[in-house]
Amino acid sequence: MTEPIIPSINLTLCNRCTQCVSGCPEQSLVMTERGPEFIKPITCTYCGDCEGLCPTGAIRAPLWVTWDAHV
């Protein structure tokens, strides 16, 4: 089974403010010694809230835009 796509975290930009951890509606993130990590990637819905809360741009939840195959 392939891992679900989750937001990427640049730990060198992270200032450990924990806003992403407290703001995640699915509690998918925890703060570790290294920085925030997705402990339960399967529960992440890719809502992008963590990205929006991150004050340093360390979290990215990029979107790819495509046409529907029938358009």
């Binding site: 796509i5 819905t45 990029p62 979107l63």
Partner: protein
């Protein structure tokens, strides 16, 4: 660097052979992985770059650490030209890689030397500036002529028509590109989804109705 390598770079194709040789003699290439910081805003501008492959973004950070995305760079785009040519000589933005990237690097002194000795190199830079100024003028016109909803619809169509090799866009980047804020982008995407114009999947926005999105883009 081999002069022949420059022949394969489209933006240098208009240059005379001796200019390409002069660039090749001075330039070197640099490979950077995804997520790497190339330049830091406010530090002295020491190098100019041309993107040979990959994708990068320019951003600025305020005192609270809040980030604003300014621009993206793709193959052929110059980076840090304004910083090198301005009086202050400091990096005007932080630049980081969005994908694995290869850059052609010129030092500030070599850059200035090429400008003074090779008019076709100066012309190339002027064309790049003209293209960037045109883009900014178009953006200013868009901001005054069209509503945010129309600008977002048009940008989504543009992105969907691009080749899929481009790096994805965050909602902040989309907001910065169309001149609004993230919350508005999020709300409009939800509106579009409710109207069955798009479908949001994990990491993907699928456009469902070209005719209606095109109509909205002209409102």
């Amino acid at each position: 660097m081999q002069a022949e390598a420059l022949n394969q770079i489209p933006i240098f194709s208009s240059l005379q052979a001796d200019t390409r040789t002069a660039i090749a003699r001075r330039a070197f290439t640099r490979n950077l992985p995804t997520g790497c910081t190339l330049l830091v805003e406010g530090l002295p501008a020491e190098y100019g770059y041309f993107v040979l492959s990959g994708e990068l973004r320019a951003l600025r950070m305020n005192q609270d650490g809040r980030v604003q995305i300014l621009a993206r760079f793709w193959t052929g785009d110059p980076i840090n030209l304004i910083s090198l040519l301005s009086q202050e000589h400091v990096n005007r933005a932080t630049i980081e890689t969005l994908t694995n990237s290869t850059l052609l690097v010129l030092s500030a002194s070599d850059f200035n030397d090429l400008i003074h000795r090779h008019p076709d190199f100066s012309t190339l830079l002027l064309r790049q500036f003209a293209a960037r100024l045109t883009k900014m003028t178009d953006l200013a016109a868009d901001l005054s002529l069209y509503a945010v909803r129309a600008r977002l619809a048009r940008f989504l169509i543009e992105l969907a028509d691009l080749t899929p090799s481009h790096a994805g866009w965050t909602q902040d980047e989309i907001a910065a590109h169309i001149g609004t804020v993230r919350d508005v982008v999020g709300r409009l995407l939800r509106d579009f989804e409710s109207a069955d114009l798009i479908q949001r999947q994990r990491g993907q926005i699928v456009l469902l109705n070209r005719d209606e999105l095109t109509r909205i883009s002209k409102d």
